[in-house]
């Protein structure tokens, strides 16, 4: 049955291709592990609510987006979730299928929910019919090809570069005999005869599989979910290309590849034709939440309301503010900063801390010492605009590069075919000493001390002052400056951990934060900047000195880069270092309580331990985002669960800073919170798997053991302590001290942001005087404290 492209009606062609595009965009991007950041796994479902997304992902991936009902029931039994929480969640819901009253809701919650089941693929049906595990064979062979194709330097013999995924796979599949050995005779020829473009392959497959236009989207989404992390990696390629104004076809190539398999198996096992036709028909039904989905979503909402209720109890109004602070220290908004900020503030009444996105508002493209490659140090939503590099003499860098190349040559000597034997005989014995060093944690640890950064693209005095003023405004740091202001980026010291960058600063694109902090400190100390700031309307005292530093989130030690601090401030600096050290002890003590086997004293040793699966909890537990003056939350113990952004709306002219906060840090925080959510509730699809059997592939990600599927997301050990989840999966509660009207105005201008709130992926509240004032209701209205709904 030869099918010609031209025989398909043009309307159908475009409908099928559009469905494929939608299926592709339903997959979240996964950033490679060398600089990974959290991504909202439900990015493609932001336009629908949790119950509907649950129904969709059940159909395409066989997962549930809500934790087991037993968890909620345990919460209810323990009194963590009250009847009020349940009733309010029920009341607020406008789902037609919601339970009639609280009693019905609880009764339904007590019934077990059916195990989620994906609609079968042709490969699943073929496996059932023939007893041969076709899905596993596809995962294995496609995985082996993809590992080579996307390899960034692990294997010495990678495929010829520069080919599209589609062409590369076709070449591979025409040679790969594995499917034939497994029993799929003729697959090599089938691959060789596949259409020359992926679009044509897609259309031909849609015809042969009998996919209607309505069925195509979820049927194709189903196949992409089957590819796991490979599809998400390809989605990342598209993300990067679009950020640079281009496009990328790799994800649709992967879809076409997977479709070639489906075609071949349908032909190979004709007995499943009927079952497949029924499946295709099921795909054409619209995605709709079942009453069970609604109950699950309501229970989730109730759990979030329970958290909000407890949080409201700790927000008891603003603390008084000292005249001129003794010290100001700006940290990243990261939830891990909350603990050490609270600890630092207890050191002396005059200490003020500030929360701001860890890239400090500077869109850096940084070239590290002795590297020819640059790294983007900024949230992945933005494009870099400022070039910086490690400040070192060219000859020093060249010498370091030669060293690195000699080490690389030695590494290739170790890896290459015949020389690997010579390597073992010449150097193998030396590894005895390396084993002892690594086993005892004696390897050189901690952050490498890089030379200070310098700005490569020159800046005029005006540009310097304008940039500095913009950042200070965004930080709400326009007045009341201390003599010493610390700007602290953060990074995590971990050893032998493939997911290291997941512990670094998400606002710095998965890099550590000290480069951004050092550039900003340099800029703010620059006499040209200082001279121009007054013209920008910011009065910065002459005796204010900025010092950059790095907060190590694993050990709670702070390293300050204080080489150029004037002698006049030596006393302030020494005092600050003492406070930071003391605060570190308190923070370590608090954090160690949550970390199994940890104590305040052994945290640094755990950071150096090459076998440590849980060096720290990262952002596990994150549940709230608060943008307000620090005075509003000062004194409250937020348990390391809140992103804290300093924001003073009274100083925010035209609410430009509000808009910035809502569109950048809030979105980044929502991605983090939803990544933790996804990795906790649906680890099979959105979790990185078990660290104990991780096998790093191509320098970009991990597979489990011998498996072929790339695993994106957080590993099990990052969200689970072995006995229970360490991250309570909650959608983020965003609380902003600003007028509701101003917030509504920003949401109006950013529909994709508003969608997140309207579909419940984020909760939104306003604060007044440090207390919750109103809750945003999907649809754009606000509900005041115990008051009727008011229009915005």
């Amino acid at each position: 049955m030869f099918m010609n492209h031209a025989q398909i009606a043009p309307a159908r062609v475009s409908a099928i291709l559009k469905a494929a595009e939608r299926a592709a965009r339903a997959v979240p991007p996964a950033f490679p592990l060398d600089a990974t950041v959290a991504v909202n796994p439900f990015l493609g479902q932001a336009g629908e609510d949790l119950a509907t997304a649950n129904a969709r992902l059940r159909r395409v991936a066989g997962i549930s987006l809500v934790r087991p009902r037993a968890d909620f029931l345990a919460g209810i039994a323990a009194g963590r979730i009250t009847d009020d929480d349940l009733a309010l969640a029920l009341l607020a819901s406008d789902a037609p299928a919601k339970p009639a009253d609280l009693a019905t809701f609880k009764a339904r919650l007590n019934r077990p929910r059916p195990a989620p089941q994906a609609l079968p693929s042709v490969a699943d049906l073929a496996a059932r019919a023939t007893g041969t595990d076709w899905p596993a064979i596809i995962t294995r062979t496609v995985g082996l090809w993809a590992a080579g194709h996307f390899d960034r330097g692990q294997a010495l013999w990678t495929p010829a570069p520069g080919q599209t995924a589609w062409r590369a796979w076709r070449d591979w599949a025409t040679h790969d005999l594995t499917p034939e050995i497994a029993g799929l005779t003729g697959f090599c020829a089938h691959a060789a005869q596949a259409p020359d473009t992926p679009d044509r392959a897609l259309l031909r497959a849609a015809e042969r599989l009998g996919l209607s236009e309505a069925a195509a989207e979820t049927a194709l989404h189903r196949l992409l979910m089957d590819l796991g992390g490979w599809a998400q990696h390809a989605r990342w390629l598209l993300w990067q290309a679009e950020l640079d104004g281009g496009s990328d076809h790799t994800l649709l190539d992967l879809l076409a590849i997977r479709l070639v398999w489906e075609e071949a198996l349908l032909e190979h096992v004709p007995a499943i034709a009927e079952a497949w036709a029924a499946t295709a028909a099921a795909h054409s039904a619209p995605v709709e939440a079942t009453p069970d989905d609604v109950v699950d979503a309501l229970a989730q909402e109730a759990a979030e309301r329970a958290h909000q209720r407890r949080l409201a109890g700790t927000l008891t109004g603003p603390a008084p503010r000292a005249a001129r602070p003794a010290l100001q220290a700006a940290f990243c908004i990261d939830v891990r900063s909350e603990v050490i900020r609270r600890a630092l503030e207890t050191q002396a009444p005059g200490i003020e801390t500030i929360g701001f996105a860890g890239f400090f508002g500077l869109p850096l493209r940084h070239r590290p010492f002795a590297s020819v490659e640059t790294q983007a140090h900024l949230p992945v939503l933005l494009t870099p605009a400022l070039d910086t590099a490690a400040d070192a003499a060219p000859e020093t860098e060249e010498a370091a590069r030669i060293s690195a190349r000699a080490i690389r040559a030695w590494g290739r000597f170790r890896q290459a075919a015949v020389s690997s034997f010579a390597f073992v005989e010449a150097a193998g014995l030396l590894y005895g000493a390396k084993l002892v060093k690594s086993a005892l944690g004696l390897d050189r640890g901690g952050p490498a001390t890089e030379p200070a950064p310098r700005i490569e693209s020159g800046m005029s005095a005006e540009e310097k002052a304008a940039t500095a003023a913009a950042v200070l405004r965004a930080m709400s740091l326009t007045e009341g400056h201390a003599r010493l202001v610390l700007l602290l980026g953060h990074g995590a010291h971990v050893t032998n951990n493939p997911h290291e960058s997941a512990y670094h600063c998400g606002a710095c694109g998965g890099q550590t934060g000290e480069v951004s902090a050092r550039v900003l400190a340099m800029l703010l100390n620059d006499p040209q900047t200082r001279a121009g700031l007054a013209g920008q309307g910011i009065a910065l005292p002459e005796d204010t000195v900025f010092v950059a530093g790095r907060h190590d989130t694993t050990t709670d030690r702070v390293t300050l880069y204080a080489e150029e601090v004037p002698a006049s401030h030596a006393g302030d600096l020494a005092q600050a270092e003492g406070w930071l050290a003391a605060a570190g002890v308190i923070a370590r003590t608090e954090r160690a309580l949550r970390l199994p086997g940890a104590s305040a004293r052994n945290l640094p040793a755990r950071a150096r331990n090459w076998a440590e699966p849980r060096p720290e909890w990262g952002l596990a537990g994150c549940a709230a985002f608060i943008a307000a003056p620090r005075a509003a939350t000062r004194g409250a113990d937020l348990g390391g669960r809140a992103f804290l952004h300093s924001y003073d709306w009274t100083a925010d002219e035209g609410f430009a800073t509000l808009e910035l906060i809502l569109t950048a840090p809030v979105v980044v925080a929502s991605w983090i919170s939803l990544q933790y959510y996804g990795s906790s509730v649906a680890p099979e699809a959105f979790g990185g798997g078990n660290k104990l059997i991780h096998n790093v592939v191509g320098g970009i990600g991990v597979v489990q053991g011998n498996g072929g599927r790339l695993r994106a997301g957080l590993p099990l050990q990052a969200v689970h302590d072995g006995a229970a989840l360490a991250h309570e999966p909650l959608r983020l509660s965003v609380m902003i001290e600003a007028p509701a009207v101003a917030i509504s105005a920003v949401l109006e201008r950013h529909p994709e942001l508003r969608a997140l709130f309207d579909h419940g992926w984020l909760h939104l509240f306003t604060l007044e005087e440090g207390r919750i004032a109103a809750r945003y209701r999907p649809g754009g209205t606000w509900q005041g404290r115990g008051q009727p709904v008011q229009a915005a």
Partner: protein, 520 residues
């Protein structure tokens, strides 16, 4: 000769601790993780004491009982003391690693119990002084490792890997059993020391038969071509298991050959088979390794290759060097597996210093000439100082020097700066001197206790030429690699190699590895 060798206590300590750990198989047992590391450290200390005892009072034999073919004998000598020290040291590193790594696992206590029992079995195996202990040791190691491979029994891939492992490993046990029966019948003793002494004098089909099955057992247990598949799939178990397997357990086959060297060497055919199969496995494994993008998979293929190389050394009669290779490879591979989590950072750092300078044909030829000159110089100096070397040893040196040529070539590329050329040249010279020195040391330590290199006859010379030529050609191809690896004509070759020439897929087909199973 019946003084108690202290190393005999090491397995006892570990078995006892294992039994204790087994009483609390679940999550976060109170003392087991700490005690397990302590026990492993204790075993390592005993191994060190064993070395001391060997130096002070010489080899010893411990008879535990049993009669005739079933006699149970342990042995302390240069080979067993080395193996015990090696395995106990790696055992300590691995148990220390597991103490942190397994924290919070549902079967944490069971893991420590299984690891200790397996480690104890390996320690028992390498002290074997009689056929019965040898067989018992191998069976126990296989049983322990199988349970460790099934640590996540819900994973279909793990079950498949365990099934393949058991098939090949216990197949090796069966071969060993047959070999033992033959050797016992041929020599009338089951004590390995006596077999070694008697074997050169006894001849006949029984002995040859025994040696043939001994070789079969060894190649199965070292994952030699074509039944290497079980080794390349066992990263299904937690990383410390891989480290113990690739640095401890996999040496069982090599140990078997070295332990029985006197008997093996009576058969020129067996030695030739080892050279050919070992050489083939070495080159095959090393080339497949080049195509693997998953770090643990690449390391597993590297082990296949390194074990093949060790078999080649055995076949050439370079027993002391095979011993050196076992020790050096184990230390390297244990570290490589345990630190494989750093692969993301390692790959990223490869890109940082900029593109790799690619050597052209002239540079490659120059590098080979330089490397051979270096070889002549170093080997000449060593021979002058220490007397002439056997042709087998010289051949092995030549094969290794081809590898060094690769290092030299990287520095000779036109695009390489002078400073880099100098660095790689110094490193290459350092590597050459290092391995000649280590080889010398190996000869001094183990040489006196192992049979001398057989005189090279026509067969030996033919094998030497074959081995040197094939290693030379592969080394040349490897060094010229960037010039041809991406040529369209090689695309198919790469696919077949990346699949390990489908030997595993064929095995899967045969044993039902492609069948669908209930859970995933």
């Amino acid at each position: 000769m019946s003084a108690l060798p202290v190393i005999a206590l090491a397995p006892t300590v570990l078995f006892a601790t294992s039994a204790f750990a087994a009483t609390g198989p679940g999550r976060r047992p109170a003392a087991a993780p700490r005690l397990s590391e302590a026990a492993a450290l204790g075993a390592a200390a005993l191994a060190l004491a064993g070395l001391g005892q060997l130096l002070l009072s010489g080899p010893a034999v411990l008879r535990l009982g049993g009669e005739g073919p079933l006699s149970l004998v342990l042995r302390l000598d240069a080979v067993s003391a080395t193996m015990v020290a090696l395995v106990a040291f790696i055992g300590w590193v691995v148990m220390r690693f597991s103490r942190s790594y397994l924290d919070g696992e549902a079967r944490e206590g069971a893991f420590h119990a299984l690891m200790l029992a397996t480690l104890a079995s390996v320690l028992l195996l390498v002290q074997a002084g009689s056929l019965a202990v040898l067989i018992l040791g191998f069976v126990a190691v296989g049983a322990g490792l199988r349970q460790l491979l099934l640590f996540y029994p819900e994973r279909a891939e793990a079950r498949r890997a365990a099934a393949k492992f058991s098939l090949v490993w216990h197949g090796g046990d069966l071969a060993l059993l047959i070999a033992a029966a033959c050797l016992w019948s041929a020599t009338g003793t089951a004590e390995l020391g006596r077999i070694a002494a008697l074997a050169p004098a006894v001849s006949g089909p029984l002995l040859s038969f025994g040696v043939a099955f001994l070789i079969l057992a060894a190649v199965l247990k070292t994952a030699a071509f074509p039944l290497h598949g079980w080794l390349t799939e066992v990263m299904e178990a937690p990383t410390p298991v891989s480290a113990l397997l690739h640095a401890g357990i996999i040496n069982g086959g090599g140990f078997l050959l070295i332990r029985m060297a006197e008997a093996v060497q009576t058969s020129a055919g067996a030695m030739a088979a080892l050279v050919m199969l070992g050489g083939l496995t070495a080159l095959f494994g090393a080339v497949v390794m080049l195509t693997q993008s998953a770090v643990k998979t690449a390391l597993a293929w590297s082990t296949v290759a390194q074990m093949g190389f060790m078999l080649l050394q055995c076949g050439l009669g370079l027993w002391a060097l095979a011993m050196l290779h076992i020790v050096a490879h184990s230390l390297y591979k244990a570290h490589a597996f345990l630190s494989s989590g750093g692969a993301v950072a390692a790959v990223a750092s490869l890109r940082r210093p900029g593109p790799i300078a690619v050597p052209d044909l002239v540079a490659v030829l120059k590098s080979f000439a330089l490397a051979l000159a270096l070889f002549a110089l170093v080997a000449g100096l060593f021979s002058l100082a220490l007397g002439p070397k056997s042709p087998q040893a010289l051949a092995l040196g030549a094969m290794l020097i081809f590898g060094v040529a690769y290092l030299v070539a990287q520095g000779l590329a036109d695009a390489a700066p002078v400073a880099l050329t100098r660095r790689t040249a110094i490193t290459a010279a350092g590597a050459a001197v290092a391995y000649f020195s280590f080889q010398l040391l190996a000869g001094l330590i183990w040489g006196p206790h192992l049979p001398p290199v057989p005189a090279a006859g026509a067969l030996e010379w033919a094998l030497i030429v074959l081995a040197v030529t094939s290693f030379g050609l592969v080394a040349l191809a490897q060094t010229l690699f960037p010039l041809w690896a991406h040529h369209p004509a090689t695309a198919g070759l790469r696919v077949h190699l990346a699949n390990g020439l489908y030997l595993n897929a064929v095995l899967d087909r045969l044993i039902g590895g492609f069948r669908a199973v209930k859970s995933n």
